[in-house]
């Protein structure tokens, strides 16, 4: 596994920067919150895609499910959801601060737990597929969820749901959600770090490298796959709940299940940063977010073309991503021992996913 030697300085530096950022640049607090959400996206995707070799194009499903579930609970605790979302929308909502926070808290908890369960269910359905089939299958599930939710009148269908308003000043609100997003990203990071450094990490890497042999060795691959996905889903659900509250209005296809945008961003961020590494997704997410905002501001109209081109270039030329590239150049820094005899026979290092036979 790829462990950066544990530097207090590094973590301390990031902590300081993260606390300072919204205070020094208060106008960009929302952008920073989105940045943390992106980092969480990348980290959770990498669990499956990078570490386990199961490239999912449908992780966004958990994001949207968490978002909707949280909204249903936040509203449903105090009012009837169907009435609230009825097109005439004639219920006047009046939620007190304690009610709001209780609803938010319960909503987040529910989103997290329910998504873990969803992951288990879908895993059972979808883990028999491999490689591209798995990718397309998950893509299909995410698209289908978006479409179905758009037809589900209980949650407002295509009209979406307006979420209860945060009781308090807008500055407070921005900081509040920033703090939550930051917290969740950090918790995710450390959870994954813990998980990767143990037996679990070795098992899922084994699945990535050669699943048949792993099964043959006695690893219950299905269990590991399901647990891995459940962990990802857990955090994704929470991020969905937070994001929904940050935006204030959720809509099935563009906000909750943006498969072709956020869903693909997850993949691109990990590719950019380095699949299968711990810091790779973090670096990738940060750079990607910056890239996206630059192109959106200055290349309006061409931003999607730039994004597509970025994907192609990354996939074709720079598969190992930034951290992967760094690992190649300075393997000692990462605690990787390079056996000179092996190194002489080929340039491949052992901790990047091995390519399956081209003939497959």
């Amino acid at each position: 596994m790829n462990l950066v030697r544990n530097p207090v300085a590094l973590y301390g530096g990031i902590l300081a920067a993260s606390i300072a950022a919204p205070l020094v640049f208060p106008d960009y607090t929302f952008q920073f919150s989105v940045l943390w959400v992106m980092i969480l996206f990348a980290l959770t995707w990498d669990m499956l895609g990078g570490q386990m070799g199961y490239n999912s194009l449908g992780n966004i499903f958990f994001f949207g499910a968490g978002m909707y579930l949280c909204a249903i609970i936040q509203i449903g605790l105090y009012y009837d959801v169907a009435e609230y979302t009825a097109a005439s929308g004639e219920i006047k909502v009046d939620i007190t601060p304690p009610q709001y926070f209780l609803g938010l808290f319960l909503g987040i908890v529910a989103a997290a737990l329910a998504n873990a369960v969803f992951a288990a269910i879908f895993g059972w359905v979808v883990f028999g597929l491999r490689g591209p089939y798995f990718a397309i299958g998950t893509l299909g599930v995410a698209l289908a969820a978006g479409e179905l939710t758009g037809a589900w009148q209980y949650v407002g269908g295509g009209g979406g749901i307006s979420l209860p308003v945060y009781p308090g000043e807008p500055d407070e609100r921005s900081l509040f959600f920033y703090a939550l997003c930051f917290l969740m990203a950090v918790v995710t990071f450390f959870t994954l770090r813990k998980v990767y450094s143990g037996r679990f990490g070795l098992a899922i890497n084994a699945i990535r490298d050669d699943e048949a042999k792993a099964e043959g060795m006695g690893i219950h691959t299905n269990r590991y796959k399901t647990v891995g996905w459940a962990i990802s889903a857990f955090f994704l659900g929470i991020s969905g709940a937070l994001f929904g509250n940050m935006i204030g209005f959720i809509e099935p296809l563009e906000v909750a299940f943006p498969t072709v945008t956020f869903g693909i961003f997850m993949v691109v961020m990990c590719l950019l940063g380095g699949k299968g590494t711990l810091w790779g997704p973090v670096v990738g997410a940060t750079l990607f977010h910056a890239f996206k905002e630059v192109t959106w501001t200055y290349m309006l109209g061409w931003q999607w073309v730039a994004l597509g081109a970025l994907i192609i270039i990354l996939v074709v030329f720079f598969q190992q991503g930034i951290v992967g590239w760094m690992q190649e150049k300075w393997p000692e820094m990462f605690g990787i021992v390079v056996d000179d005899k092996l190194a002489a026979s080929g340039p491949e290092l052992d901790d990047r996913p091995r390519r399956s036979e081209a003939a497959q």
Partner: protein
């Protein structure tokens, strides 16, 4: 520890770079002698046609006000300037752009986006930051039941769009000796807040007359094909067909009604003008009823543009390619007029004072009377119903404003 410093360096650089990169020039609410209004609106995507119509309306309003001496506050004259971002017809993007306009660009006065869906997305944000917004393109009733205090809407709400069509149908039924409750109603609506709201209004009205709803369909999301619904129409032979799907839905409906040679005594479609039905489908579009927020033949007038007809001429002279001026443009212009009026009554740029001035608006414009209810919607202006008759749009209802008689039943020429 070089790798660590590399990391810290990399990360800090990332954050700093991001911060610097985002540093677009921050415009204050009032720059020099310019008042900056902000708008996130659809230049691309499925709402782009009307998004651009609205933008043209906003620009014409600002241009005319600036030509006539600008906004006079505190003895000084200020020009209006409007800053736009493209929200690609996606509500999420509209919300994000609103955050950007308010936080990063420092905009304090907003103009609305196009469509109820995007307005619904942006309203919580302007409300959260207490930024007043005058919107002219979001008609869904649900916008006005959340208790928003900073949103003002110059247009009539959506449930009124097709009401007069149903009432007319009932009237025609009685004239021909049938009971209104014998009438069969077919409807197809887009799955978005606006159309669903129009539908809710229609459903209420049909219940009022006890009419029977035989078809109640949703249009596909891309609004490109309603053949299934029209096939059902052929099978069930309803007396009224109602369609609402913004301009694209209207274009699809008219096209397929012509292709499938649909014959229904009364057809009402929203957003006809923006869909350029007369241009594209000629005599095949005859007899279609089109609800409109504004018509150039109505007898409104004001000191900025003169009569509605004068506005129509000015607009066509300023922007190429318009055979009919869509009401979306007229109401956008009206929104800008409302801002000017509010600034001058408040005689201040303080947000709360301006907000209160907006709430107290009571003015006549070429677009119609504007007076806001406590909830924020305009209660002083009616919707009118026009019919395509011989290639022209004529007002046929309500009777107070009608200039022509309704042609019924519809004689289509395919």
């Amino acid at each position: 520890m070089s790798i660590h410093s590399k990391f810290v360096g990399a990360f800090a650089f990332g954050v700093a770079a991001a911060g610097l990169i985002f540093a677009a020039p921050a415009g204050a609410k009032v720059e020099g002698d310019e008042i900056v209004l902000g708008s996130a609106i659809s230049f691309t995507g499925k709402y782009s046609a009307n998004g651009i119509n609205a933008k043209n309306g906003y620009n014409l309003g600002a241009k005319r006000i600036n030509e006539m001496g600008g906004v006079k506050v505190g003895g000084k004259a200020y020009k209006l300037k409007i800053v736009y971002y493209d929200d690609e017809s996606t509500p999420l993007r509209t919300a994000q752009l609103a955050e950007r306009l308010i936080n990063q660009d420092g905009v304090k006065y907003m103009l609305g986006p196009y469509s109820s869906a995007t307005t619904k997305a942006i309203a919580p944000i302007t409300e959260k930051y207490k930024i007043p917004m005058v919107e002219a393109e979001g008609a869904a009733r649900s916008l006005f039941t959340q208790g928003y205090k900073y949103m003002f809407c110059v247009i009539s709400t959506s449930e009124q769009y097709l009401t007069s069509a149903i009432a007319l149908a009932a009237e025609m039924a009685e004239k021909s000796g049938r009971k209104p409750s014998d009438l069969k109603v077919a409807m197809a609506f887009e799955n978005d807040p606006f159309s669903l709201d129009v539908r809710a209004g229609v459903v209420d009205d049909t219940k009022k007359f006890n009419m029977k709803v035989v078809i109640d369909d949703k249009l596909p999301r891309d609004l490109s094909d309603m053949a299934a619904t029209l096939t059902k129409v052929k099978a069930t032979k309803p007396d009224i067909l109602l369609v609402s799907g913004h301009e694209k839905g209207a274009a699809t409906a008219a096209r397929q009604i012509k292709e499938l040679k649909i014959d229904v005594p009364m057809i009402a479609i929203t957003h006809c003008e923006a869909a350029k039905l007369i241009d594209k489908f000629g005599p095949a579009a005859n007899g279609i009823l089109c609800p409109t927020q504004w018509a150039e033949t109505l007898s409104y007038k004001d000191k900025y543009f003169g009569t509605a007809m004068d506005y129509d001429k000015t607009f066509k002279a300023t922007f190429e390619g318009y055979k009919n001026v869509p009401y979306q443009s007229a109401q956008a212009t009206a929104a800008v007029l409302v801002w000017k009026d509010a600034f001058e009554r408040a005689q201040s740029f303080d947000i709360e004072k301006v907000r209160d001035a907006l709430a107290a608006t009571d003015m006549q414009t070429f677009y119609g009377a504007i007076k806001f209810a406590k909830e924020g919607n305009n209660i002083a202006k009616p919707m009118v119903l026009r019919q395509i008759q011989d290639g022209k749009l004529n007002v046929v209802a309500p009777s107070k404003w009608a200039s022509h008689k309704l042609e019924w039943p519809r004689k289509a020429m395919y």
